[in-house]
């Protein structure tokens, strides 16, 4: 058995195109899940018991069930009762919901780690809560959550590989197809793994640079 990458070289553009699908699926669900996560967090932090209960339940259900099962529920489960989403939408919805629960918890931890005294100082200056939040709490809060958010982004990106089980043309399912075409199993999947790795490493690196530039205080 010798490794031979020559056969798969022509497929590199196909792989890169599939990698791009993985990336943009991640970007969209990370952004949408992030926005949703803010609302879930706000509901959890609100004074209203019903909202707290709802967001707690939501977070617990999502965090304590596998993403794969969530995806099956959306694609096959809802499909079986006539609510049909195509693979792309199913993956986007599944990853967005999943991401929102995790980011809500990240926001909660980050915001509550901002010293209470800063909020009091804002309040004592006569700033209404929305101003105190925006000018005083938000930036230190974001600095607190940035490492965890980066981590979450990478996890989400790697999880996007489950799109392959419902035949979304992202990187992993493309690798499977190429494998059956070329039978260069070890080569195909090691190149695929390398693509995942390089992308994740680039994201982590970008995040560290951002942290250094945007939060130097």
């Amino acid at each position: 058995m010798t490794l031979y990458f020559g056969d798969i070289l022509p497929y590199l553009p196909v792989m890169l195109k599939a990698l791009w699908v993985s990336i943009y699926v991640t970007l969209i669900s990370f952004a949408a899940g992030g926005v949703l996560g803010i609302f879930i967090y706000l509901a959890k932090a609100s004074r209203f018991k019903a909202l707290q209960l709802f967001s707690n339940g939501y977070i617990e259900v999502i965090r304590n069930t596998p993403l794969l099962v969530q995806l099956y529920l959306i694609y096959f489960g809802l499909g079986s009762i006539g609510i049909n989403f195509n693979p792309l939408w199913s993956v986007l919805i599944g990853m967005t919901l999943n991401n929102s629960a995790y980011t809500a918890e990240i926001f909660r931890a980050g915001i509550s780690a901002v010293p209470k005294g800063l909020r009091e100082a804002g309040t004592a200056l006569g700033m209404p809560f929305h101003q105190t939040f925006r000018y005083v709490i938000l930036k230190p809060g974001i600095r607190n959550v940035l490492p965890a958010l980066t981590n979450q982004f990478i996890v989400l990106f790697l999880f996007s590989s489950i799109g392959s089980v419902i035949a979304l043309d992202e990187l992993t399912s493309t690798l499977q197809n190429l494998n059956s075409q070329t039978l260069r199993t070890l080569e195909i999947f090691s190149v695929g793994a390398l693509l995942y790795f390089l992308t994740s490493a680039a994201i982590a690196f970008g995040s560290r640079i951002t942290e250094r530039l945007a939060f130097r205080w």
């Binding site: 009091e120 100082a121 700033m127 600095r143």
Partner: protein, 241 residues
């Protein structure tokens, strides 16, 4: 009277921290509040701008009744400056931006005016050269002086100080006290919760001794420090010497 407090009670859960406080502060007066830890003196101070809510009692400050139905607490707090034990300067803003924030966002002062006023205040607290640095490079005493300048930027009529020197290294305490002294001389109305008996003795017009949620004794610094009437005051002061 710029501050009037009547029958102020405050509880945290079942623990009653303030058990009926009555007190008045005249315009331009410097009132120092002393007492052992847990006596309720910080809570009392924090009730004065409703940073701590209370259900029982009345507080009128700078013409606002704190518990009035139409009271806008943010408007009250604009008139009442506060300085904290832990400084609470905003770490993500340069010193000058710390001072400019509230005037610009709350007071609707232009950036240019806020900057000019900020520089005047920095000069007053002796930190002109630190305008464009981040607070993390400052000593505790410098941070506290920034916090004082920040509170003054809203041009308050009353200043509340919550143990402003308790978290400081001994060598930086003097600079902060000097700034406060200057402020007192300029006629600012000040309520100062403090453990600095030297400051209270020298600067206060009146000293108020609190213990276990009540005002035990009040009087001029001479009365309180030279001839305290109450046993609890005597015990407290004797422990400090």
């Amino acid at each position: 009277m710029i501050i009037t407090v009547e029958g102020l009670h405050k509880s945290f859960g079942k623990l009653e921290v303030l058990k009926g406080i009555d007190c008045e502060v005249a315009e331009g007066e410097v009132l120092c509040v002393i007492g052992p830890s847990g006596s309720g003196k910080s809570t009392f101070l924090r009730c004065l701008n409703f940073l701590e809510s209370f259900r029982e009692g009345q507080v009128t400050i700078s013409g606002h009744n704190l518990t009035g139905a139409k009271t806008n607490l943010n408007a009250v707090r604009r008139d009442v400056g506060m300085v904290f034990q832990s400084f609470n300067v905003f770490p993500h803003m340069k010193v000058i931006d710390n001072i400019m924030l509230a005037p610009m966002k709350v007071g609707k002062v232009s950036r240019v005016d806020a900057h000019a006023r900020g520089m005047v205040l920095l000069e007053k607290v002796g930190l002109t050269s630190k305008a464009d640095v981040y607070p993390s490079t400052l000593s505790g005493g410098q941070m506290q002086r920034v916090a004082i300048a920040r509170a003054l930027a809203m041009e308050p009529t009353v200043m509340l100080f919550d143990e402003p020197t308790s978290a400081l290294d001994p060598e930086t305490v003097g600079d902060v006290l000097d700034v406060m002294k200057k402020l007192a001389e300029e006629g600012m109305t000040m309520v100062v919760v403090t453990h600095e008996m030297g400051f209270a003795r020298e600067v206060a017009d009146r000293v108020l001794f609190m213990d276990a949620g009540v005002i035990v004794e009040e009087g001029t610094p001479a009365q309180i420090f030279e001839s305290p009437q109450h046993v609890r005051t005597q015990t407290f002061l004797s422990k400090l010497l």
